[in-house]
């Protein structure tokens, strides 16, 4: 047996078409790697808090003490955490799985105050620029970053977006999902305004909040990781309703929202439900259009987790009724344990939707993605 080690460190002169764009993939700092990028006043504070601190996990994925909710083959050999090695990510996701362009979504947690939340996003953006998007680590040009923004401080977040907008390797704004109130509240308008002014979609990724922003359901806390993670989609369903009913897309007609890792099958009945209440009570919301029309024009969901019934035909029909080719963007969620392989995802999609979902929609949503990239000899092509 031999082990394929593909580290060309140089791309071919030959160009190849982008066929898979991965909209959900997670780089993470090596130990101590983020600290130098933090504003000076927080460096020692954050390090002191981390001193002697153990795991904070309390909704645990299966076999957590061994897997840490990761693909267990994604931990680099230097002892750092999964997702911390740009070379290993390159090999596993680009070369072996066949993803062509990766929209990196760092999840570096938050702070205890709005100011701290913002400071972490500032550090995360600087760190991405220096440690992932730079010419050494991104020699292949396949990594794109996210302008991470703290919705806790919308004005500061808007300034952060303006600061990084125009960076050729920054493709989206990334926000957390759990903050209250929901996204329809006008207090967040500066973020939508900055994003749309710069042609950037805003992606919303689930993480974990604290206390009643864990999220907590209207009937209290779930018991297991299983019921918590499945019901997380209820939070996204509410955000969709808030964005639409509270008029965000009327205020920002160019705004594109990407819901990452919130699943998507619920969007079909939710559209019916929103249209039904709109038909009964529409005028009080002052909407210009039917709710489902806003979904098709403004809302995107990533494919992972790709949940299916036993009868795959039901899934296919559901995608057709939903017009999923107007809604979905492929995602792998590497290196998390819920990783979806692009070839596996593609084969479960209706033929006529495959290209749109695997890459064409992404090329439309993320304005600065190339349609062709330098070829990588030995790369798997997931098609």
């Amino acid at each position: 047996m031999t082990i394929e080690m593909q580290r060309p460190k140089e791309a071919s002169q030959e160009m190849t078409e982008v066929r898979v764009v991965d909209s959900d993939i997670h780089p993470t700092p090596k130990r101590g790697e983020l600290t130098p990028f933090l504003p000076a006043k927080f460096r020692s504070l954050f390090e002191n808090r981390a001193t002697g601190a153990g795991s904070p996990v309390y909704y645990d994925a299966p076999d957590f003490a061994h897997s840490f909710a990761m693909r267990t083959d994604s931990f680099p050999s230097d002892g750092n955490f999964a997702g911390s090695d740009p070379d290993l990510m390159f090999r596993q996701v680009i070369m072996e799985a066949g993803c062509d362009l990766l929209i990196l979504g760092p999840l570096n947690g938050g702070g205890q105050t709005d100011e701290e939340h913002h400071a972490v996003t500032q550090a995360t953006n600087l760190w991405q620029d220096a440690c992932w998007l730079d010419s050494e680590h991104n020699w292949h040009g396949r990594y794109r970053g996210s302008i991470v923004a703290a919705m806790e401080a919308p004005e500061a977040a808007a300034r952060e977006i303006e600061h990084w907008a125009g960076h050729p390797m920054m493709s989206q704004v990334l926000i957390g999902a759990e903050l209250r109130p929901a996204w329809g509240d006008p207090r967040y308008d500066p973020v939508w305004e900055a994003a749309t002014r710069n042609g950037l979609p805003v992606a919303c990724h689930l993480g974990r909040g604290q206390h009643n922003e864990l999220p907590m359901s209207p009937v209290g806390f779930m018991t297991y990781n299983h019921d918590l993670m499945v019901s997380y989609s209820m939070l996204a369903a509410n955000q969709v309703m808030s964005l639409i009913f509270d008029g965000v897309f009327d205020r920002f007609p160019d705004l594109q929202i990407v819901f990452i890792e919130h699943a998507f099958n619920w969007l079909l009945p939710l559209m019916w439900r929103m249209d039904a209440i709109h038909a009964k009570r529409g005028p009080e919301n002052g909407l210009k259009r039917k709710p489902s029309e806003y979904v098709k024009d403004h809302i995107w969901c990533t494919t992972q987790p790709l949940d299916m019934p036993e009868d795959k035909l039901e899934f296919t029909r559901s995608l057709e009724w939903m017009e999923a080719d107007k809604v979905l963007l492929f995602s792998s969620d590497y290196p998390h344990w819920t990783f979806d392989d692009p070839q596996w995802v593609r084969k479960h999609l209706p033929l006529h939707m495959q290209d749109k979902i695997m890459y064409q929609n992404a090329l439309q949503v993320f304005k600065n993605l190339p349609e062709t990239v330098p070829a990588l000899p030995g790369q798997k092509r997931a098609q």
């Binding site: 047996m1 394929e4 299966p62 076999d63 693909r71 931990f75 070839q343």
Partner: protein
């Protein structure tokens, strides 16, 4: 093993292979041998040997990079009400933690999803896999 293993020069299929000595795979250990496209994992569970394909039927994960452990059963007598049963007899995929019984390749939850298993026998000090 973090690299995705593919077998460049597989041993011929459909015949007996001496893959290891008994001492090479002590109880609780396993060895991946180059048979077929993805390799075959040979496991020693308390002196009983099993062989499975190194490939998860769910999304194609490298199954033998996963951990073996038992299954959880209800046990009202212990604090927490649950206990591990049949320790070490199941392999769990390193990607999505789907578990399969080493002896049969099946799972309790969805038996129609199963992994490929191969006959193993011990002759003298040799572990012999038919694959």
């Amino acid at each position: 093993m973090r690299e995705r293993t593919t077998v460049r020069t597989p041993l011929a299929r459909g015949r007996e292979h001496v893959v290891a000595t008994v001492e090479e795979i002590p109880p609780g250990e396993h060895k991946v041998v180059p048979i077929g496209r993805w390799g075959v994992g040979v496991y020693n569970v308390d002196g009983r040997f099993y062989a499975i394909a190194n490939y998860c039927p769910h999304e194609g994960g490298p199954l033998c990079s996963g951990r073996t452990h038992g299954v959880t059963v209800v046990d009202p007598e212990v604090p927490g009400g649950a206990a591990e049963s049949r320790a070490g007899e199941f392999i769990y995929c390193p990607w999505h933690q789907w578990g399969f019984e080493l002896a049969t390749g099946t799972t309790a939850v969805k038996p129609e999803w199963s992994i490929r298993t191969y006959p193993v026998r011990v002759q003298g000090s040799d572990v012999i896999v038919t694959a």
